[in-house]
Amino acid sequence: MNKKDIPQDHSALVNYIRELCYAVGEDGNYETANSTGWEVKTTALDVAWKDIETRILDAKDKVLRGKVSPVLFYMELRLMDIKILSAYTGFWQCTIKRHFKPSVFNKLSEAKLKKYAEVFDISLKELKMEHFNADKL
């Protein structure tokens, strides 16, 4: 890539960082220059975020229909998967899967719910099934 070809497209980084790129200068030697972004990269990021949004909406729908507990919704909202959630809470992965069931979730002790609430950065009340209100977020 020649230095003059470094893309300067709009991206999410615009107000934060201009990243450093290595490119060939006019004399054939490598130089560095800053770039505001590249459209291809931005689209790839958009695709990933669109996928995340679908997963969140899907989870929300399931919670509202009473199929799963809010743990799944908040897990998706915080971009986690079961492995990461397990690492943060200290619960085993199979335990977390059980907590996805509303019947199990509703009987959870205060202490366990508190752990989830802490990890998800929400209040204990928001986590409870009967107060579930995803539109607020």
Binding site: Y16, R18, V24, N34, V40, A44, L45, A48, I84
Partner: protein
Amino acid sequence: MQINFEHRQAAHCENGVTTNLLRFSGIEITEPLAFGIGSGLFFIYIPFLMVNNAPAFSYRTMPGLIFKRTCKRLGIDVTRKKFSSPDSARKVLDDCLLNNQPVGCQVGVYYLTYFPKEYRFHFNAHNIVVYGKEDDRYLISDPVMEDTTSLSDYKLSRVRFAKGPLAPRGQIYFPHLDEKVTKEKFAKAIRKGIKQNVRDMLYIPGPVAGVSGIKFVARKILKWHDKLGNHKTGLYLAQLVRMQEEIGTGGGGFRYIYAAFLQQAHDYVPDDRLLAISEKFTAAGDMWRDAAVQAAGIFKGRLTQRDDFVNMHDRMYQVAEVEKEAFTQLSKLKF
């Protein structure tokens, strides 16, 4: 308390931390040199490690290795510590800063508040330098940022103890320098770095890593298309491009850094073939970028025919061939 630390922006976080810490110790090193001596260039496909619901790809070596190898090859001792509790982690960090030693830290990106929201995933192998403390705020030099920044005690502790795959566990590291690094030592380190990189890319066993890993993924694209359909394959390709061009971890970008490394290595190892091979890596970097444009067509939904996926497959095969040739030529250099 603030250490007189020079912040220099880098294309990739670990290169940047390595370069900045070594420069602080008085070694004249640049980002490409650190990357090359640490044998940073790589390709690996890790099918069983799902990141954001798509398989993981990496265009560079394991996190931590670039710093480790670069220091080792230059004959520099390294202190590296992990912690079980945030309190002891904070104490050791404070002690280092009191001793006028800037410290490299491995951190998770998700809670890194100065990053744009769009880039904050649960990715735990980001690297920053902590170079001082002022009224309970730690002064941070993040090599992918243009300027230095700061984090509160709580926030720094949170990113240092992020959880999940590659959890940093408060890891800190810094070099100790006893003697000056001579030009001969640099030349020797460069040879070692190239040698190992040749081995990593050409001769590593198994189908998923090195040059054969690129071809493996190319074939996989066709299989994904048959089995999982356009949408899912598009998601996987988006992941491939993101890993290639993600902030501070550019893949095409890595090829350019390696090309720059070979050019700069020429100052230490005067062999003109290095310059010719450097151009090959520039070409490989360009081809990766063109492949990314093709992939973008697919995940945007503009290209949907099977031919388009075959095209993607062919492009990756060609890149693999170019890189194979370049590394084979490097392996033949006798120095």
